[in-house]
């Protein structure tokens, strides 16, 4: 092709793109909500004298244009692949490791945060006047170092656990989850590939381990009816934006018991632990107890069920709570990120066990733990 013709093609294609993008933008339907980002997308900016003069219109117009860009998800994916192949993904907070597994960058070691959090937990335990158990969930990266990508930062979960144990005092009992998980032969099955949470398998083993230390027991695994829901893509998948990674199954373990679940944010009781309507989403994790809520109560209607447990927790307890429900008459879950009243107000209800359950990542970053009282 000669130079002149190429010039004309360049002009033509560029102008076509410039004409097509605004046209597509105006014509294509706009989503209100991004399931992958779990946030509402920007709304069309309102044009009035005030917003125009203050520059607010310009800002909102840019967010609106950015949020509803035609082909946005594909473009975001392309950028993520670009970062991956040039080696730069290591600068992000989610990494693609071996065997198609996504990892979250490990929690940083920070003695001060540990000391502050442990002081708050100790004070709470002393106030409770009964033993309080602490279970910190190791990250997948710590458990599966052989699957981490090259250049991954060293996992410091062990140091964090040691430091936390040193600060535990007498009122807190430490549940040693890491050695038990490490000893498992199928460590890879304990965590999802596309999500930072443990799988139902991982949660079951953690629940069994914990209940063993407090003298209770779970039904044997054979007693559960296990159904696998295909097509689960978790938060790590959304954050990494590597859309080509396959979905994985999410398991629902049904002990056959009858449960009533209520939470503060929704009216009425829910029969059963699993909110199957949430299975239609990419991120199916809220199928367990409807995801995060400030206060959740699970009642086991089996008259033989005995005892009550209070769990101060992060989202790892959504799945764990479903197992604890088999071993207690009532399980109460409190999430300090959303529960704004003093937890001590609940203690009057009387609990056989009090468990504090956090993933190490959240333990090191959640600024709400120090609010525990």
């Amino acid at each position: 092709m000669n130079t002149k013709r190429i010039d004309k093609w360049i002009c033509l294609l560029f102008c076509l793109l410039l004409a097509l993008m605004p046209l597509l933008f105006l014509l294509l339907p706009k989503a209100d909500f991004s399931a992958r980002e779990k946030r509402y997308l920007a709304e069309a900016p309102e044009l009035d004298a005030d917003s125009l003069l203050s520059g607010r219109f310009a800002e909102e117009a840019e967010s609106y244009a950015a949020d509803h860009l035609p082909g946005r998800d594909l473009l975001v994916g392309l950028n993520a692949v670009g970062e991956l192949v040039t080696g730069r993904q290591i600068a992000n907070t989610v990494w693609l490791g071996r065997n198609g597994r996504l990892f979250e960058a490990p929690a940083a070691f920070d003695a001060e945060t540990i000391a502050d959090n442990m002081a708050a937990l100790r004070a709470f335990a002393e106030q409770a006047g009964q033993p309080v158990d602490l279970m910190l969930v190791p990250s997948a990266g710590c458990l599966l170092p052989e699957e981490l990508p090259a250049l991954a930062d060293p996992c410091r979960d062990e140091e964090i656990l040691d430091a936390a144990r040193d600060e535990a005092g007498d009122a807190l009992r430490f549940v040693a989850l890491l050695p038990a998980f490490r000893a498992a032969e199928d460590r890879g099955a304990l965590y999802y590939r596309t999500d930072h949470h443990w799988t139902a398998e991982g949660a079951y083993r953690a629940a069994a381990l914990y209940l063993d230390t407090v003298g209770r027991a779970l039904p044997a695994r054979e007693d559960y009816g296990i159904t696998a829901e295909a097509g689960f893509r978790g938060t790590l998948w959304s954050r990494a934006a590597l859309w080509f990674l396959p979905a994985e199954p999410l398991e629902l373990w049904d002990s056959g018991g009858d449960f009533c679940v209520e939470n503060r944010e929704r009216e009425g009781e829910h029969a059963g632990l699993f909110y199957r309507e949430r299975l239609t989403e990419d991120d199916k994790y809220p199928v367990y107890l409807d995801g995060n809520h400030s206060l959740v109560r699970i009642r086991n209607t089996d008259p033989a069920a005995q005892g009550r447990i209070l769990v101060v927790r992060d989202s790892f307890a959504n799945c764990l709570g479903c197992f604890l429900a088999d071993a207690y008459e009532e399980v109460v879950l409190v999430d300090l990120r959303y529960y704004r009243s003093p937890v001590s107000g609940l203690l009057a209800e009387g609990f056989d066990q009090i468990l504090i359950l956090y993933s190490i990542g959240n333990f090191m970053t959640d600024a709400n733990i120090v609010r525990l009282e």
């Binding site: 360049i10 002009c11 980002e37 975001v76 080696g87 930062d153």
Partner: protein, 460 residues
């Protein structure tokens, strides 16, 4: 508005081009003026008044100069008024706060009020550009512009409004009157714009992210690598912006002069400044250094002139003492090169001279970057005191290594030469279509990712 935004790329630019090419030829400067005012007023509409005032002021001063000249009188008072008012605007909007803060340090002035003025975007560029008009007219280097719309289009022209290049009036005077847009020029404009956008989004931004990340990491290696990362970032950011500006100018039929010429391949500081931000160095040389006497009044005077020019060049970059220090740094280096011309530094082997230049310039950027002296001192300590880098720093650096190496190569003419060779081969011409198309796709992808923020702890 900035070029690397969705609103600019997919709404403003298509609309501006459509209006421009649909308008009859005689209205095209007016269209350009109007879209430029929208561009300028987009985020900060109040400063449109300042822009309009600047246009009116310099337009009037130009006419005044022409009239006095026609009446056979000296035009000097008009020029002086133009200079005083332009610099007065710049001083008030850019330097009032800095001046007040600095004066406060003097005894007895501790209570001096600090004026709360926000810096209008691009003011340093369009004030200098406007001044070049009155000076060119005064010197007879360019004819007076009697059409205020045309003049307004020159001052506010959106491609170079916010970050240059500083287009001297005489360089575009003829193009304002008469220009023929061609598909050849348009195509080269598209290509240059995309290259500039790629420099900004695909090189400067990620390398800048590395510099940000490394600053938080301990270790000597972090400091050195960070310094070089910033050196690459500022080059690709700024030269990318200039490329976009020159490319956009071509879309509207304008031809601006080159602003960057591979500055990091220079062998000396003097050469570096002939290659870096050429329009600014030219401005200072034409309108300050040479009028001060340049190098024609003996060595001591030349050194003094260098000092004046470089202190002001430093200050032009920002209202803070570190920019003065940065200017002084280059004043001393340039004086040194004048004094040592033909001696020791010139006799070093070329690679060594080059290495030295890169070190000098990179270090200079640190003076430029750190606006507070405690931060600068802390960084210098990190730079010279041996300390092991954290694992995170080493991993980041290794992860970024391919990009860093690519960027370092891209700062040299290697790719330009390669492209020239390929374009002469059979089928090589197709690359002119494919490479920019691919780059633009990656740019849009990078832009889209900036707004992609998964919110992890979503409730309900």
């Amino acid at each position: 508005m900035v070029f690397s935004s969705n609103v600019f790329l997919f709404f403003f630019l298509p609309a501006a081009l459509a209006l421009y090419y649909l308008a009859p030829r005689r209205y095209r400067n007016t269209v350009l003026l109007l879209v430029s005012l929208v561009f300028y007023g987009w985020g900060e509409p109040v400063y449109l008044l300042l822009m309009l005032f600047t246009i009116a002021l310099n337009y009037g001063c130009g006419l005044w100069i022409a009239r006095r000249r026609a009446e056979g009188r000296s035009a000097k008072p008009a020029l002086i008024w133009a200079a005083v008012l332009n610099l007065g605007l710049l001083a008030w909007f850019k330097y009032a706060g800095f001046l007040a803060r600095s004066l406060r340090l003097l005894p007895g002035l501790g209570a001096l009020p600090i004026p709360a003025v926000a810096l209008p975007i691009g003011i340093s560029f369009y004030i200098f550009q406007s001044m070049s008009y009155t000076i060119d007219v005064y010197r007879g280097d360019a004819p007076v512009q009697r059409d205020i719309l045309r003049f307004g289009a020159y001052v506010s022209m959106f491609p170079q409004l916010i970050a240059g290049p500083i287009v001297r009036y005489r360089d575009v005077a003829a193009q304002l009157e008469e220009r023929r847009e061609t598909s050849e020029q348009f195509a080269s404009g598209v290509t240059l714009f995309i290259l500039g956008l790629s420099k900004k989004l695909l090189l400067a931004n990620p390398v800048g992210a590395l510099w940000e990340a490394l600053q938080a990491q301990p270790g000597t290696l972090s400091a050195w690598a960070g310094m070089f990362a910033y050196t690459l970032q500022i080059y690709f950011d700024f030269s990318g912006y200039s490329d976009m500006a020159i490319g956009l100018g071509r879309l509207f039929g304008f031809e601006f002069l080159k602003n960057f010429d591979y500055p990091y391949i220079a062998q000396s500081v003097t050469e570096f400044w002939r290659r870096w931000h050429i329009s600014l160095s030219t401005w200072f040389r034409e309108y300050l250094y040479i009028p001060l006497g340049g190098n024609r009044r003996g060595l001591p005077r030349q050194l003094l002139n260098l000092l004046i020019v470089w202190l002001l060049t430093g200050l032009w970059h920002g209202a803070s003492w570190n920019f003065v220090l940065w200017g002084l740094y280059y004043a001393l280096l340039l004086m040194g090169e004048k004094l040592l011309a033909g001696r020791f530094p010139d006799r070093l082997p070329r690679p060594l001279r080059h290495l030295l230049l890169v070190l000098i310039v990179s270090f200079g950027w640190m003076l430029f970057y750190f606006e507070s002296s405690p931060a600068l001192l802390a960084f210098l300590k990190k730079l010279v005191l041996p300390a092991a880098a954290s694992a995170r720093a080493r991993h980041l650096l290794l992860g970024y290594l391919p990009l860093l190496l690519f960027a370092a190569l891209a700062a040299t003419p290697i790719f330009r030469r390669l492209a020239d060779k390929l374009l002469r081969t059979r089928g090589g011409q197709a690359l002119r279509l494919l490479v920019p198309a691919l780059l633009l796709l990656l740019c849009v992808a990078a832009l889209a990712s900036q707004s992609y923020n998964p919110f992890i702890y979503f409730r309900f």
